[in-house]
Amino acid sequence: MAKKEYAFYPGCSSQKGASASNYLVSVESMCQSLDIKMTQIPDWNCCGASVSYAEAGELPRHVMNARNFALSEQNLPERDIVATCAACWLGARESKERLEHSSVLMTDTNTALKEAGLNLKVIPEVRHMVEVLIEDLGYEELASHVKKPLEGMKIAGYVGCQTNRPFGILGESFENPMYLDKLIETVGAEATKYDQKVTCCGGALAFSEPEKAQAQIKDIIESAYDSGAEMLVTPCPLCQANTEVYQGQINKKYGTKFNMPVLYYSQLMVLAYGGSAKDAGLNGQVIRARTLEEFASK
């Protein structure tokens, strides 16, 4: 019997071969070390993400999330839903809030769910992996599993938007949340101080407005470098992808020499817990994290 059990909502990007597959890999081995049991919601579907607003409209987006709620409630009763993707978490939480707040929406939603043979009564708690780590386990517990502290490494915790606003992690400020820094310190590394910690990476606009998005990404990476960081760590797949994969283009456009690895907090933890480069999904880096690879091999 595992210490903690949750209904897992990995989200599209975390699937095998998808842009955040390495996130999933690391999360799985992290949960193993922490004795957390994550059971995927059977046949879960996409959350719709923020950007679908125009085509989807209001109700269809909620209905997509409602389907996941219903499936979770049906197959994994009593369990909190845990998302690893910031956007999935936010989308789902918003739908939960809105549905619980408006009986009209709730009725309409159930009418629609009926078409898929589902019905929604109670909406489970929707939580982000980070919340589970901090609130259900706590920093001390997390630290207690560290076998190989990441000593001497300087890492910039890039919180970004969607784990931080509008809901955020309990007790954190929107402007200067500390939880990532604390996680970095928990695994024995040094969290550098820089002022782009919560700057937006451009989100989906990286596709539609690349110039704007990349300008923002540039600010983030630049100030991370200025703070002496050798890598970035995030809790969000889209932040990870945007800050990592566009560095090449930014270098071309601005003549910068960015080459900063961007990791997930879970990858750091796996390594600190003694996991291998593979367990941590380091092979999934577009910009290779050589220091960490060496660290893992030691």
Binding site: D43, A54, M64, A116
Partner: protein, 210 residues
Amino acid sequence: MSDMNQQMTAKYKNNFLKEIEEQAEMGDWVKMCMQCGVCSGSCPTNFHPGWDHPPQEIFMLIRAGKRDEVLNSQSMWMCTSCYNCYVRCPRKIPITHIMHGIAEYAYRIGRAPKNQPTLHLSQTFWNNCTKNGRVNEVQLTQTLYFKDGIADGIKKAMAMQAAALGLVKAGRLNPMEALGGGHKCKDIKGIHAMLAKAKELEAKRKGRTA
């Protein structure tokens, strides 16, 4: 909706405000703006290099009854959903959602700017993720980069090649998905039926013909 497109709006009268209240998600908050401008100063895209009408100005334009300027505006489409405006607003106005709401409404009645890239992204993303219940990232990127025809598409594709290739190497972009592989939900039928119903209900609630 045609009749709404013809709708006359007088200056500093309530009718356009009312229209937004009824039609746009969270539109009934627009009247609560106290004109402090914290949203406009908080918007990240507004500084790189900035767009035509920051949120507060959109609200003021609505109150001033400037229907065309609002509905044709690029502004709402620049929202990255970073929620800075939302959390700083002294009136707790859900600005992010209102921006989405107004954009959605403009698009719905055919007033959105032509070739609005974010609108195109929105359409592509939604169709992509609802087709199989889950996102197919390769097809998503393909449609995006080829949206403006082959030539332009290639240019963009080239620009993205390094990145894309990197992702492929890193095992985070699976070329197989292009050939109809990739992840799917089992109950796709149910999902489609469900969404059709949802669309229908929403249209009815907002007095639109779906």
